[in-house]
Amino acid sequence: MDLSQIFNVAQLANALALASLLTILASGLALIFGLRDVMNFGHGALFMLGAYLGYTLAGQMNFWAALVIVPFLLALVGVVFEYAAIRPLQRRSHMDVALVTFGLALIMSQVVIMIWGTSPKSMEAPPSLAGSFNLFGQPYPAYRIFLIAVGFGTCVALAAWLKYTRSGMHVRAVSQQPMVARMMGVNTDRLSLLVVCLGTGFAGLAGVLAGPYLSVDPGMGASILISCLIVVVIGGLGSIGGAIAAAVVYALIQVIGTVLSPTLAVISPYLLLFIVLLWRPQGLGRGRVG
């Protein structure tokens, strides 16, 4: 096996496609964690809900409508989540809240199964993106290019918001020094509502985007949740930049591992997690230690 088989443009693009999906999800997870210290185990279920809503809306209207509406619907779920779960429980230990989100994830995935059933659904890419695209001389599915563009576009927008706006600055302040930020007059509750809505909305966006890329089935939430948690922990809890970097590293290892040996692909994410946490317990980014 020569190296060109492993490191070619198509493989790199595959890795970036997976990474963009993971970054959208992981940045939402990291945002919520940074602000509220809540490890949201329901993120996978929200992602699944987004994918199923996207499937239904894309069938009734079209893909583009779903791509706009579903994130808003999920942001509404985020409002409920913030008021019903996070705010009443903010004095409780992190572990308690994490377990409540785990319970909510169980409930949510069962509700999805009740509505849509257990059989996998397939979702077609929109006609304008159904073909393939000429990527440096090789044909490559246009939808994946679109996925990469949206994924990294979202990240750039998020980074710009965090860096150049007042509310973004407050989010960064609370993530780094919650007490000091509060003393300086940052309204954590109001900010948290915004951030939780953004996080759940991102989960919805990722769900719709994942529809034509992965299959829409009841197991999709649980399997991606583990990857996302690994990415967030490797990136440094609460650090957005770290999460993005970790998602790219994770996806590269996953894709290259699949080509080299399936055994390696299966265990490499966990090995990566172990190595990073033992070498740098705070993760790659400049987040706080949970």
Binding site: L99, I107, P281
Partner: protein, 352 residues
């Protein structure tokens, strides 16, 4: 008003110093021995194989829950991937029986030894992590083992998707395979294992090491400054939790004679985790009560077809309403009632 309870407390602590140590322990020890002995006769009272089987399942789940509760209470570390330890013990037993062709007894000893060594090694690596990364690490460990078991190249050893069905030679404590599979004849093994594990966890929790561990949980930095080694005790606690979990895994292997990848699934660790939380981590009996409630609930809800939905609701309700679990709630209520009684009595004494 406030003087009375503290006086009572002083009297309580002063009493052991006056009376010799042995007779003081005699009464509780006798009660425990009687309960253990009475427990052995459960199968002759409870004739239904179905309900006895349910109880055996509760015991196995309860032992895994004790492992989680022990570590959570003593070290503040929540093992999300307890399945890694229960499941790997079942697989170790299965592999020892099918590949090495060892007898049940040898394979069991090997399983406990190997699983304990394994958890000591893993513990040495992971106990440095803070609680949340720790939870992730154990969860990732369980997922990794599950993926490893399913890899096609390892199929001859692990059985892949199909799992491993066991037929073991020899006897385990005088019981053959068919006897171990029956709840009634398996009962003494499970019951004694449960009692042993509970006593072990209780004794370690009450010992000096237990106090050191809880002090480290409360403030690790201060303990380090006071000259205590804060690393080794946590590794030991983790190893003990791993050992207890492996007992649960071994019992699964002996009873069901089957090792499936499902055992390493997050859901399996989740069952034990939910039991622990429902019961409460503050005591050794809490997780066992939680496991019993969980198994009963599973039996009741299973018929409705909404098992996971109701489990999710149960988890949320219990965590929100009973922060210390059902056992903690019972304990607090009893303490409150007893406190009221003691205060009334104390007030009466003061009046005299």
């Amino acid at each position: 008003m406030s003087a009375a309870p503290s006086l009572a407390a002083r009297a309580h602590t002063a009493a052991p110093a006056q009376s010799p140590r042995l007779p003081r322990l005699m009464k509780p020890a006798l009660i425990v021995a009687v309960i253990v002995a009475l427990g052995l006769f459960v199968p002759s009272v409870l004739k239904s194989t179905f309900y006895l089987g349910l109880l055996v399942n509760a015991i196995i789940l309860g032992i895994a829950a004790i492992a989680i509760g022990f570590l959570a209470h003593q070290s503040g570390l929540m093992m999300f991937g307890a399945a890694a330890f229960t499941g790997s013990a079942t697989y170790l037993f299965a592999i020892a029986v099918t590949r090495f062709g060892w007898s049940a007894m040898t394979a069991s000893l090997f399983t406990l030894l190997a699983a304990t060594l394994l958890s000591a090694l893993i513990g040495a690596l992971v106990v440095r992590a803070r609680p949340l990364p720790f939870a992730m690490l154990t969860l990732a460990l369980a997922q990794m083992l599950r993926s490893l078991v399913l890899i096609t190249q390892f199929r001859p050893v692990t059985g892949g998707d199909d799992g491993l069905a066991l037929t073991f030679s020899g006897s385990f404590l005088g019981l053959t395979q068919s006897e171990l599979a029956k709840p009634a004849s398996f009962w003494p093994v499970a019951w004694l294992a449960l009692c042993g594990v509970m006593l072990l966890a209780w004794a370690v929790g009450r010992s000096r090491s237990g106090r050191v561990l809880r002090a480290i949980r409360a403030n690790e930095e201060r303990m380090r400054f006071s000259g205590f080694d804060t690393y080794l005790p946590r590794v030991l606690a983790f190893t003990l939790a791993g050992f207890i979990a492996s007992v649960a895994g071994l019992l699964t292997g002996l009873h069901t004679a089957f090792a499936s990848p499902e055992l390493l699934d997050f859901a399996t660790g989740g069952n034990a985790l939910v039991s622990t939380l429902v019961g409460g981590i503050g005591s050794v009996s809490g997780p066992v009560l939680g496991a019993l409630l969980y198994v009963i609930g599973q039996d009741q809800f299973g018929a409705t077809g909404h098992l996971e939905l109701l489990t999710g609701l149960g988890v949320v309700l219990v965590i929100v309403a009973f922060p210390q679990g059902v056992m903690g709630f019972i304990h607090n209520s009893v303490a409150r009632l007893a406190g009221r009684g003691a205060r009334a009595q104390g007030g009466g004494d003061a009046a005299h």
